[in-house]
Structures are given as C-alpha cells and as structure tokens.
C-alpha cells in the first residue's frame, strides 16, 4: 500500500491526544443532559407561560381600550 502522509498526520495527532477524549465526552454528555432538561422544562411549563402572557396582554388591551374610551369621554366634556 502506498504511503499517505495525510493519514499519517491524522494518526500522529490522534496518538498525541491522550486522555482528553474522555473529558470532552463527559462535557458533551453534561451539555446534552442540560439541554434535555431545559427542553423538558419548556415542554412542562411553556404552555402555561404562553397562557399567562396571553392573559396579561388581554388585560393590557382591555385597560388601554378603557383608557381610550375614558379619554374620549373626557374630551367630549372638555368640548
């Protein structure tokens, strides 16, 4: 088989790596677990949060409408 210095370089780099591979593996695993946890939390509480936000926006809209009607009535009084 003919020589391929690119493949030799790859093996050289891999041999020099040492035990870092396991540390990286654990880091990736913990990251994945954390992302999964965030996903679960969102799945569990996400719909409720959306509902709360919707109700807040409804309340705000209603209060804005009320303010508008109040101000328009005030204006008529001024006139």
């Amino acid at each position: 088989m003919s020589k391929n210095s690119f493949k030799e370089l790859e093996s050289l780099i891999i041999n020099d790596r040492g035990t870092h591979s396991e540390v990286t593996k654990q880091n990736v695993q913990s990251n994945i677990i954390f992302i999964k946890f965030l996903g679960d939390i969102f799945e569990l509480y996400g719909p409720n949060v959306v509902k709360v936000l919707q109700s807040i926006s409804h309340v705000n809209n209603n209060s804005v409408k009320q303010n508008d009607t109040n101000s328009s009535t005030n204006n008529t009084f001024d006139l």
């Binding site: 003919s2 020589k3 391929n4 210095s5 690119f6 493949k7 030799e8 370089l9 790859e10 050289l12 780099i13 891999i14 020099d16 790596r17 870092h20 591979s21 990286t24 593996k25 880091n27 990736v28 695993q29 990251n31 994945i32 992302i35 999964k36």
Partner: protein, 203 residues
Amino acid sequence: MIVNLLNPIVTHTSKKMMCDEEVVEQYLLTKNIHYFNLLYDRYTNKIYAKCVAMLKVEAKAEDATQEIFIKILLNLSKFTGKSKFSTWIYSITYNYCIDVIRKEVKENTVFVEDQLNIEIADDNCIENEMLEMNVHRLREVLKLMQVEDKSILLMKYQDDMSIKEICDVINKSESAVKMKILRAKERFLKIYRMEFKTSIQMV
C-alpha cells in the same frame, strides 16, 4: 437478561455490529446515551484530528470537538441518509472550523495571489510528492495554508471523499470542486517551496 433490559444496546451489539445509520435511528427513537457513546467513540478522534489540522492549536481543537458533537446531536434528526453519516459529520466539522477561523480577526497565513505563476507540468507529480512528504513538514505547510484550501485537501486525501461527496459538503459543482482541488495543490506546492526551499521535481 436484566442487564440487557437496562441497556438495550447490549442486545443489538451481541447480534451484529450496528452501522452508523442504525445507531442514529436507535438514538432518535430511544434517546439512550449509550448510542451517543457509540457514535462518539467512533468519530471523536477523527473529528479532533481534523480540528487540529484546521485550527492549529490543540486546546482550541478540543473545544471545537465538544461543540461539534453537541451540534451533531442537536441536528441528528436532520440527517436524512442521503449521504454517508461520516460525510455528514465531516461536513459539519469542516464548516464549523471554517466559521471559527473566519471569526478570528487576522489569520496567520501566507498570502498567495489568485493568479499562480507556477508551471505545473504533471498534476500526479505534485500529488505523489504531497502523499509521500514528511509528516512534520506536511503539518507545517497545512498550518500556513488558507482554510478553504486546507479543508478541501483534507477531504480528498485524509477522508478519501469522492468529488461528488466534496460537492455536497461545500455546495459547489463538480467542475468547481476539481478546480478548487487543483488550485489548493498549487498553493500547497508554493508554500512548501517557500518554507523548505526545495524544488519539487518537475516533469
């Protein structure tokens, strides 16, 4: 039996060696971390070696390997099986490294003009010279190359990717890829000459 129930991968591996696509399928179905470990063990060193060749610094390469694996796992559901799994993850690796290097403000590369004046009589001659080169010299030359040239040479000579596969990775036509490979080899030769003051045997 209890062990097998707790760890379903044992039953699979005892029957046969699972291919990458099967492991991906099982991971997506079960979200079992053992399947991730299988993929990690198969590809971590290859990905790390590519990151070292591209990013030059081992610590950066280790961080990049970590980020790339997270990216791979978050995007596993997007793997359609159109290309080989290895091609898919190598494309993520190369694109990630290219992005990292582009983000860095100044890249320490030798400036090579687009118009190359090297007279190359025989393309195979350069290829043989490259493949039989001393590994440490190869590493030095790769360090000085532009990231696009470096990645295309690694795809061709380290990963043995076909032209079609390289086309899929870099989203270019076959003729464009062939031209890019040729240009990369020419630039490689130029940097090699400049660094080591040797003349490659010309035909």
